[in-house]
């Protein structure tokens, strides 16, 4: 009987169930990522290893989107522009100065975080559709600027310009000079980024964001400084996007301005929802899908994967609000219960009473 009550609750509240384990998730992140990295590192060919490296890098920016959408309910459609900001800063710093790659990444993160705060200013007044439109326009403005500027060319010095064959390639970090080493390097940094985001979810900012999502009045009545915590979320999302951009720049040593159009930000948001914004691995699933699917389907034309993403988004919005990751978490929870049946404690008994009521 107790089991039935518990199961029906999990099914009725997939979102709650997805978040139940958030405290344990922070410790699970490095373990899962290590297993993933070892499998990919040992079995993927160079084509898929490159796809995996950029997929993992991009997934860090999706983690930022998941914070904004999953924690605060804010739709931001300019996240890929922030990836571009981070990528551009990393490239220019890499060509202009002789700093360690890690420091370049940090500066790229901070730079994108500042732009992220500026992009987030409309969110202090706008929500829902209007915020989505304004952020999409910002992504459009970024697209116009980088196209006009022929971003991000690889000339000498911090503002050096070079076109075509004169472009220099950014060197990979000295710690990870080969593609396979760089893949592990990206996985480690992204893992740290995931953990940073997960810590935020479990700690004071996460609780404040949850109150703001519940309602501004509720948040104010609990003493939350709404302005500060909203901007904090945008700063964090920007930081993660900036680092993602810096990591992406290292994959091929250069970036193409055409990959930073406004439609990429739309794609990124759609995939974030499909992957799942309530579990940390939703971002990983989304990032890999974003790079693997087009790679696997390249013989069938460029738009097939976009069509599949669209269909997946529709399915997620209609039937699976917690995304692939949320469904996976339910399945894992089911296995856990089968393998490790819990004894009924007074605590469980009381909550089950509540679920039945």
């Amino acid at each position: 009987m107790a089991d039935i009550a518990q199961t029906s609750f999990s099914q009725a509240n997939p979102m709650a169930a997805a978040l139940r384990a958030s405290r344990l998730q922070i410790l699970a992140i490095p373990v899962v990522m290590a297993i993933f990295a070892l499998i990919m590192g040992n079995f993927a060919n160079s084509f898929y290893l490159t796809a995996a490296t950029s997929g993992v890098a991009i997934s860090l920016s999706i983690t930022g989107l998941a914070i904004l959408y999953g924690q605060l309910g804010l739709v931001s459609l300019c996240q890929f522009a922030l990836v571009g900001v981070g990528g551009w800063i990393t490239l220019r710093l890499g060509h202009g100065f002789d700093l360690p790659y890690e420091l370049n990444l940090l500066i790229a993160g901070i730079g994108a975080s500042i732009v992220g705060i500026i992009f987030g200013l409309p969110a202090l007044r706008l929500r829902g559709l209007y915020l989505a439109l304004v952020t999409l326009m910002l992504a459009g403005i970024f697209q116009v600027i980088i196209t006009a500027w022929n971003f991000p060319d690889g000339g000498d010095g911090f503002i050096g310009r070079a076109a075509g064959a004169g472009r220099q390639i950014l060197e990979k970090p000295s710690l990870a000079p080969t593609p396979i080493a760089y893949f592990y390097y990206v996985v480690i940094i992204v893992t740290l980024g995931y953990m940073l985001a997960q810590w935020h979810r479990n700690a004071k900012p996460g609780r404040a964001w949850a109150l703001i999502r519940k309602g501004q009045t509720t948040a104010l009545a609990s003493g939350v400084n709404i302005l500060l915590y909203k901007l904090w979320a945008f700063a964090l999302a920007g930081f993660l996007a900036g680092v993602a951009g810096g990591l992406l720049a290292g994959v091929a040593g250069q970036l193409d301005s055409r990959s930073f159009g406004a439609s990429e930000s739309l794609n990124l948001f759609a995939l974030a929802v499909v992957g799942g914004v309530f579990n940390w691995y939703g971002a990983l699933i989304a990032g890999l899908a974003l790079r693997f699917l087009p790679a696997a389907l390249q013989d069938f034309g460029a738009y097939l994967s976009v069509g599949i993403f669209g269909a997946a988004l529709f399915q997620a919005l209609a039937m699976e609000p917690t995304g692939v990751a949320g469904r996976l978490s339910l399945i894992l929870g089911w296995f856990r219960k089968k393998l490790m049946p819990q004894k009924s404690t007074p605590q469980n008994a009381m909550s089950e009473g509540g679920a039945r009521d």
Binding site: F9, N13, M15, A16, L19, R20, K204, R207, A208, A210, L211, R213, K214, G215, T217, T218, L220, A221, S222, G223, V224, N225, F278, P346, Q347, M350, S351, G353, G354, A355, D357
Partner: protein, 234 residues
């Protein structure tokens, strides 16, 4: 102690509170009145969500004029809402912790949260998600949130709505113990006159934004004007 002096709120041509001068000093006081009498508006003015057109509000002799809702929370004001506001995807302890986070409690935050949970009897469900609680438990979480970090005044907006008799009695005991346990004054809005009669020493009755009566609860509820306006009896 809550004191208002010539308090007036205007929404366009409507005055939900009209020149209210009152002094509420009972440890647990009631606020009643027919629908639209201005009860929730008064709570909103005290907690800083609605700016009055004129007049003043002082709590324990301290003026609250010009303070933001957040500053009032830090000053010891707590409130619950008509519709409970428990966050579904936070656990009970996280829901209560969420207010302690912003009260600069330092090292005492944890014990303050624990005390609030213990007092309201929520210890045993502290790690359950808000979404899995029943209505009574949710109401208790709201009250526990009000008790964190040395509250001075706790405003409860219909805490008993939708509860069974047994739950209502348990809620009464919890509310009645707040002044002694937490040294805070409690002001309760409720439509349940029996609940108000059982808990509140003093009651303020509002009607169309004006004070209809203020005094010892039994006396107020017996007065003809209150029976006529509120209870529909003569």
């Amino acid at each position: 102690m809550i004191e208002t002096e010539g308090l007036t709120v205007r929404f366009g041509s409507v005055r939900p509170i009209d020149g209210l001068t009152a002094r509420i000093d009972a440890p647990v006081a009631g606020l009643i009145g027919p629908n639209g009498a201005g009860k929730t508006t008064l709570l909103n003015v005290i907690s800083g969500f609605v700016r009055p057109e004129s007049g003043s509000v002082t709590i324990d002799g301290k003026s609250f004029v010009g303070l933001s809702p957040v500053e009032r929370v830090r000053g010891g004001l707590r409130r619950s809402f008509q519709t409970e506001q428990v966050v579904e995807d936070l656990t009970v302890v996280q829901n209560v912790q969420a207010i302690a986070d912003h009260l600069a409690l330092g090292s005492s935050a944890r014990s303050s949260v624990a005390q609030a949970l213990q007092y309201t009897g929520l210890e045993s469900v502290r790690d359950e998600l808000g979404g899995s609680l029943n209505l009574f438990q949710r109401r208790l979480v709201e009250i526990a949130k009000c008790l964190v970090g040395e509250p001075k005044l706790v405003l409860l907006d219909e805490p008993g709505a939708g509860l069974s008799n047994e739950e209502g009695e348990q809620l009464q005991r919890i509310i009645l113990g707040i002044p002694e346990q937490f040294r805070a004054q409690v002001l309760v809005i409720d439509h349940d006159v029996d609940l108000i009669r059982a808990m509140c020493e003093q009651t303020l009755v509002l009607d169309y934004g004006k004070m209809l009566a203020l005094g010892p609860t039994a006396q107020v509820l017996e007065s003809d004007s209150v029976r006529q306006a509120y209870l529909g009896e003569l």
